[in-house]
């Protein structure tokens, strides 16, 4: 999927992966179903338990991830030894790694929940700050009080540092405070810089920048457009704002704050946040000129990590953790604290990797065993074994020097890159907690939208005050949206007004809907032949024959339809206790500007689809029918895109759309004398760029149908027109067109409906960007439902969309009732 998880980025090199999902543009309707369900399941709680009571002595505990036997990387071998020791100590426990699929992109945080939904959840699950509230409030986690209360006070303080306790010990769905998870290690961001690029730029690698001013100066010196070297990097996508959080936090800004009544409010429109955003935007938009070449100061793009890995970025942020202080080569990369902001302080935003026990574990023995493993994996003994193994493997420089000192290798501790541990400790000490309030796993998405918008805003010739005002306006709007959507605050007066309007509209549309259905039934009954009065036996037999299909359709279409319709009137909660909210969802949607603008975008998409998706196959079929030689060959060639598995197609098209001058399309354009384009990153071109691959993939398969239709035209018709002396276009007009009309009309209507609903290509290619230019209604529904968990609103939108399209659907069915289907073989 397109959107890179910032969390993943921050964790290190593994983010350098292919970011596209498997996707087949040729089979879009089916895929839409899939994409939609894809994220929803992330939020489901199974009603049945996973832990099964066992009679035998051995308890099996499923862990979200375990060290692998065959992986010879030092850290893995060390972790493996720790696990072996645990098994030695607890022969009655068996550990099993849960094999869930690794899903990337914006659903990454929620990936384990997919397993929960499918009933294959591990017993020990991974939790971080962002997810914690959702996990707790949805009841995924089992309270650990009974276990944690056994710990001595000293151990408790050591295991759960007071600074992060507010995240771990807090109110659950039952209104009581509980311990919900055990921290495994605290992670804190630091600034990494390439020593070689520093030296190249004449900077002293021993003196990394300490504040914003120095950071910008250093970046300016390092950046060398001619050599493709950048001073800094900014990631784009739904989690782009995570990348600027070191600026925001050092400016003193906070994403959300908790009100005295316990509710959360978005808080990133303060002067501090404006300073943070403003600085980041300035860096993103700055250019440098060296040796006559002008280029960007910072690399801004979705593939920032590939630039970092290629050694083309001077400075970037990453996260350090206790057990793995240097995932990077300390010879090449130096480490420094987050630069100080206007506050004069370096304030990192810290997070912790935590382990919790899945609430669905019903067997107490499994739970106890799970706790033992959680406790052991962060025990002194585990640290000792880990340290010893790492030392033996010659990887001592990668681990926490404190552990080295503690476990008898003080001399090796001195080998560790100087100052690393101090930087880490200071970060943990001075850091603020990553947002852990309601739905905060989405806070970066909400904070990224204004960042993206501002990065497209031109600030040339604008005074600082005006600039800040623009930033403020954008942020205030975003905060409002966050409060409304993520945190659910809507003023009561607005509520009443919205609902009244919504009722009125609902009444009208409901009536229209019923009338339409009535019409459709009438058309269909009229066209279908009436009973010819067969005997009773045959009628029963017919019933038996038709039963399987009827049953399947009732169960798999009508039942979900009914159940789904109810959801539109609920504040649907996956836990089962959903509240009826009446017309609220419809009201919110009707008053949501974004919904209407997504509808507008859908119109545009649909229009483009008719031009590029609907018309070309018809023309292709006519041409293929016309040429005397090479028909079969061309047919196969045009069919090839349908054979290649979907993802790759989109992956490849994204490469074709590469905005750099070396991108394929840009090279072709410059060959013909044009100038390089931004393609998917250009708000004006993005939509066409999304439509084109879809049209391209569907061209061959669709034209086959028209080709079959053309073959069905009786020769006599042509012969007759020949006698009349008709030329090519005359025949096209008076013979081909009338014959093909029913097919063309049915397909045109189908294409229109598809054009309106389609959203999955957007997910795979642009994620609604740039700057909302491709945010079509289909994708809006997907996002609303599955990303923001507004099932009710999503369903309400689907209904509204369905009603808009109803006339098309009805028309389609009317034609269907009038035609009959024939093969065209002669």
């Amino acid at each position: 999927m397109k959107i890179r998880s910032a969390a993943r980025c921050f964790q290190g090199l593994s983010a350098h992966t292919m970011k596209s999902a498997f996707y087949n543009p040729a089979k879009v309707t089916m895929l839409r179903f899939i994409f939609m369900v894809a994220a929803v399941i992330l939020w489901l709680v199974p009603e049945h338990s996973v832990g099964v009571e066992r009679a035998d002595a051995v308890v099996t505990v499923k862990v979200f991830s375990l060290p692998q036997k065959g992986n010879t990387e030092a850290s893995n071998v060390a972790a493996y030894k720790v696990m072996q020791r645990f098994l030695e100590l607890h022969p009655d426990v068996r550990l099993e790694s849960s094999t869930t699929l690794k899903i990337e992109g914006d659903v990454m945080d929620a990936a384990p929940l997919m397993a929960i939904a499918a009933g294959t959840s591990p017993d020990i699950i991974y939790v971080n700050f962002r997810q914690s509230d959702t996990y707790i409030s949805q009841g995924f986690l089992y309270p650990l009080d009974e276990y944690i209360n056994e710990l001595s006070p000293e151990e408790l303080v050591e295991r759960i540092p007071p600074s992060i306790k507010p995240v771990i010990y807090r109110e659950g769905p039952d209104g009581q405070s509980h311990y919900w998870a055990m921290p495994k290690e605290i992670v804190a961001p630091v600034l990494l810089f390439r020593k070689d690029l520093f030296a190249r730029a004449g900077l002293d690698p021993r003196k990394p920048p300490t504040d914003w001013k120095e950071l910008e100066e250093a970046a300016r010196k390092i950046a060398d457009p001619g050599a493709g070297v950048y001073g800094l990097v900014f990631h784009t996508g739904a989690n782009a704002s995570h990348g600027i959080s070191p600026y925001l936090s050092s400016a003193g800004a906070k994403a959300v704050v908790q009100l005295p009544d316990g509710r959360w409010k978005a808080h990133f429109d303060t002067p501090e946040a404006i300073a943070g955003y403003g600085f980041a935007i300035r860096l993103m938009q700055s250019t440098v000129t060296k040796g006559g070449v002008t280029g960007a100061l910072a690399y801004v793009g979705a593939d920032g990590w590939s630039k970092i890995l290629a050694g083309k970025v001077g400075m970037f942020f990453t996260e350090l953790s206790e057990s793995n202080l240097t995932a990077f080569d300390p010879e090449v990369l130096g480490t420094a604290p987050i630069p100080k902001g206007p506050t004069g302080r370096s304030i990192p935003q810290i997070n912790a990797r935590m382990l919790g026990i899945y609430a669905g574990v019903k067997d107490k023995r499994t739970r106890d065993a799970a706790w033992k493993y959680i406790k052991f994996s962060n025990s002194e003994e585990a640290h000792r074994i880990y340290t010893r193994t790492m030392v033996e493997l010659g990887a001592a420089h990668m681990i926490n020097p404190v552990w080295l000192e503690e476990f008898g290798y003080p001399e090796l501790a001195r080998l560790a890159p100087v100052g690393l541990i101090d930087i880490y400790r200071a970060a943990v000490r001075d850091g603020i907690l990553e947002p852990f309030g309601r739905n905060c796993q989405f806070v970066y998405t909400y904070m990224s939208a204004p960042l993206e918008r501002l990065s497209y805003t031109k600030f040339n010739g604008v005074s600082d005050a005006e600039r800040d005002a623009i930033i403020k306006r954008t942020l205030v709007e975003a905060v409002q949206k966050t409060n409304e959507r993520m945190l659910g605050h809507i003023p009561p007066e607005a509520r009443t007004k919205r609902n009244t309007t919504a009722w009125a509209i609902a009444a009208i549309t409901g009536t229209v809907f019923v009338v339409f259905i009535g019409f459709v039934f009438k058309w269909m009954s009229k066209e279908l032949t009436a009973s010819s009065g067969r005997n009773r036996h045959q009628s029963v037999l017919a019933g038996i024959f038709i039963l399987p299909a009827l049953f399947l359709i009732l169960v798999w279409q009508y039942y979900p339809l009914a159940r789904g319709s109810l959801m539109a009137f609920q504040d649907y909660n996956l836990m089962g206790a959903s509240q009826w909210v009446g017309i609220n969802n419809f009201a919110d949607v009707l008053f949501d500007i974004q919904f209407w603008s997504s509808l507008k975008n859908a119109f545009y998409f649909c229009a483009l689809w008719m031009i590029f998706g609907f018309a070309p196959p018809v023309a292709l079929a006519v041409i293929l029918q016309e040429i005397p030689l090479g028909r079969v060959m061309f047919r196969v060639l045009f069919y090839i895109p349908a054979v290649v598995s979907g993802v790759v197609i989109l992956f490849m098209w994204r490469a074709i759309y590469d905005p750099s001058p070396d991108g394929i399309l840009n090279r072709i354009i410059s060959f013909f004398g044009g100038s390089a384009q931004q393609w998917l990153q250009d708000p004006n071109l993005a939509m066409i760029c999304v439509v084109f691959p879809l049209a391209w993939a569907g061209l061959g398969p669709s034209s086959i149908i028209y080709l079959a239709a053309l073959k069905g035209i009786p020769d006599e018709l042509y012969e007759a027109s020949d006698i009349d002396g008709a030329a090519f276009f005359d025949k096209l007009r008076y013979v081909v067109l009338p014959y093909m009309k029913p097919l063309l009309v049915i397909n045109a209507v189908g294409a229109t409906i598809y054009g309106f609903k389609s959203g999955d290509a957007i997910l795979a290619m642009t994620g609604g960007g740039p700057n909302g230019a491709t945010q079509v209604v289909g994708y809006e529904i997907w996002q609303r439902t599955f990303l923001f968990l507004k099932f009710g609103q999503g369903t309400a939108m689907a209904w509204i969309l369905g009603l808009i399209l109803l006339s098309f659907t009805a028309y389609q069915m009317r034609i269907l009732a009038r035609v009959e289907f024939r093969t065209t073989q002669k």
């Binding site: 065959g70 869930t100 420089h397 399947l552 979900p560 159940r563 290649v644 014959y739 029913p742 069915m813």
Partner: protein
């Protein structure tokens, strides 16, 4: 029949029109095939060239491109390659990416011959850490040695799964003090492999190059201004900082001494260090302070020393702990006199000195202008290039096939994938051929009084917004405990009102006389259905079956959603999984393999498809 008749085709406007059509078709066909060819071409690439979008991989005809790939395979990391070969661009600066590397200038034949015979002579004499095994490290990719390694593991441990045999290999950076040979369960396999492969996979470690890159390069930089500063401070006249010579012992010049000491203290592994006799007592005191008695040292080192006086400075096959202690000792020294560095760089010079005695003689033989033996660098880069040229065919064919061999191995050996895909496809085809046709037959043949009502019920869901049903459908699957079963894959989409409608229309058009004859012959309804209706509808059913096959075969997201359990993954899901673990070229290779069945089916069944497509006609 074509719209243009024969005569029109031959007329001038007809010919122009046809020509125009051919131009359009050719242009379109290029666009159709181009991305596919990119994929095929991408599947035989590696990290260096995977971002180059060319239809014919450039390494097939361009030696520079091949050399970049070869170097990347050999060294894995560009820093390591620079340290070992001191490769540089035309401005004298180092490379930051393999993709920028150029082919080296070849030295005289004589120099190359001298180098080859030198390597041959020292190969068995040198300790293991003087020669590193290359072609082993790849980030999310599979290297030549990596591929051999996983094969060797599979042979040694037949019960290990294919996924697990892909054990990552770290580059043999002997020059780095932290490097060690792999430990753990497969260490023995690695050692055996290392001992059995051809010498061409090894390259000599250059400590001097490491010094130039890791210490000088980082503290001075590598470009022109850096070398100026260095020359000023060191009173030298190097043309690039990469040319810096490493003194085996503590140098005189103060600035040089600082860099040298930094390198020896903080970077260099004690494997490459020896201590003068005079410093040994100090080293032994250091150990004594740490271990107090010789027995505990023996336990840690796995040795049998009788007294402190017998403990030597570690060398050769000494234990890792001994080297770690030695590193610490060196680090603790304030004065590094008495420390001597050993490296293949120096041995090469010594060998030349012994052979030629006089630099003038060497210059004559090599057609060079050295003023001293100490100026001579190891011609590793040129030798790499020579090795590449000598083994060009083998290297190219390995590059061309490796991703495919690897992907094929992963696909075949995962077991479940192929089986699940086959079962899923079969079930999908069978269901598609029974459920909808049966219902359509009933409606067409018996025309029951409630027929149109039933058809309406079957088709009416088309009018409802589809998004509404998606979430509940999944919930239903879960509630019915159908997740992770083939039923979940096949059943939800098995019945389709539109298909029934299409089929009913088609069945209506079959001659009713046949049915009457069948009834007279006493044929039951099921038999009539299977022996009259179905055969008569063969083309349309074939299209339905093909559609069901391709849908099941290509199904990915849906299969992933409802069958998350690994034992239920289909081929496409496995390939998706590979995409997480490997780079694009390997995934491309897997996808090309996976695309073959669908392509073959389409090519073979084209005519069947054309015959079976139904189109709407006005009644």
């Amino acid at each position: 029949m074509a719209i243009l008749n024969r005569i029109q085709q031959r007329s001038l406007p007809g010919r122009i029109l046809l020509l125009f059509f051919y131009v359009i078709l050719s242009f379109g066909a290029v666009w159709m095939v181009y991305p596919f060819l990119l994929m095929v071409s991408g599947s035989v690439k590696s990290e260096v060239d995977s971002r180059q979008m060319d239809i014919i991989p450039s390494y097939l005809f361009d030696e520079t491109a091949l050399f970049r790939k070869f170097s990347q395979e050999r060294y894995g990391k560009v820093d390591l390659a620079t340290a070992m070969t001191r490769a540089r661009d035309e401005k004298g600066d180092r490379y930051y990416s393999f993709g920028d590397m150029a082919t080296p200038q070849m030295p005289s034949d004589r120099e190359m011959k001298d180098w080859q015979s030198f390597l041959e002579a020292v190969r068995h004499k040198w300790p293991a850490h003087y020669l590193s095994m290359g072609h082993a490290y790849g980030h999310r990719s599979v290297t030549e040695i990596g591929f051999k390694f996983s094969h060797a593991i599979r042979e040694a441990f037949p019960n290990v799964s294919a996924q697990e045999t892909v054990a990552p290999i770290v580059p043999e950076e002997w020059n780095n003090r932290y490097y060690q040979l792999p430990q753990g369960p497969y260490a023995g396999v690695y050692r055996d492999l290392r001992g059995s492969i051809s010498p061409r996979y090894f390259y000599p470690i250059s400590i001097e190059g490491t010094y130039a890159v890791k210490t000088i390069g980082i503290s001075y930089g590598t470009d022109a201004s850096a070398v100026e500063r260095l020359n000023r401070e060191w009173s030298t006249d190097y043309r690039s900082t990469l040319d810096v010579r490493l003194s085996p012992t503590l140098p005189e010049n103060a600035a040089e001494r600082a860099s040298w000491s930094d390198f020896v203290r903080n970077y260099l592994s004690s494997r490459f260090i020896s201590l003068d006799e005079i410093r040994l007592p100090g080293y032994r005191t250091f150990l004594e302070e740490k271990y107090t008695n010789i027995a505990s040292l023996n336990k840690v080192y796995g040795t049998r020393f009788d007294s402190w006086a017998g403990v030597p400075f570690p060398s050769g096959a000494a234990s890792a702990s001994a080297f770690a202690d030695a590193d610490l000792y060196i680090r603790s020294l304030s004065d590094l006199s008495g420390v001597t560095i050993h490296s293949p760089d120096f041995e090469w010079r010594e060998a030349l000195r012994a052979d030629y005695a006089d630099i003038g003689r060497l210059n004559d033989a090599w057609e060079s202008q050295y003023s001293d033996f100490d100026e001579i660098l190891m011609p590793t880069l040129a030798h790499d290039y020579l090795l590449m040229k000598q083994n060009k065919a083998a290297i190219i064919s390995d590059f061309l096939t490796r991703n495919y061999r690897f992907a094929w191995g992963q696909i075949v050996s995962n077991g479940h994938g192929l089986k699940n895909t086959t079962i899923f496809c079969l079930l999908n085809v069978v269901t598609a051929l029974i459920v909808n046709p049966l219902a359509a037959y009933a409606l067409s043949r018996f025309q029951p009084g409630w027929g149109q009502g039933a058809l309406f019920v079957l088709m009416a869901t088309m009018a409802f917004p589809g998004e509404v049903t998606q979430i509940p459908s999944f919930l239903l699957l879960r509630d019915l405990n159908m997740l992770n079963t083939f039923a979940a894959l096949v059943i939800p989409a098995a019945a389709n009102g539109y298909s029934i409608f299409l089929l009913k229309g088609f069945f209506d058009s079959l001659p009713s006389e046949l049915y009457e004859a069948a009834t007279i012959d006493g044929c039951g309804e099921l038999r009539t259905f299977f022996s009259i209706t179905m055969p008569l509808s063969a083309p349309i059913l074939a299209v339905i079956a093909l559609g069901a096959f391709t849908a099941a075969y290509g199904s990915f997201m849906f299969a992933l959603l409802v069958c998350q359990d690994e034992s239920m993954w289909t081929l496409m899901v496995y390939i998706y999984q590979m995409q997480q673990d490997y780079n694009a070229p390997i995934v491309f290779a897997a996808l090309v393999i996976a695309a073959i069945p669908t392509l073959v089916v389409f090519i073979l069944c084209q005519n069947v498809i054309m015959k079976g497509i139904v189109i709407p006609v006005e009644k």
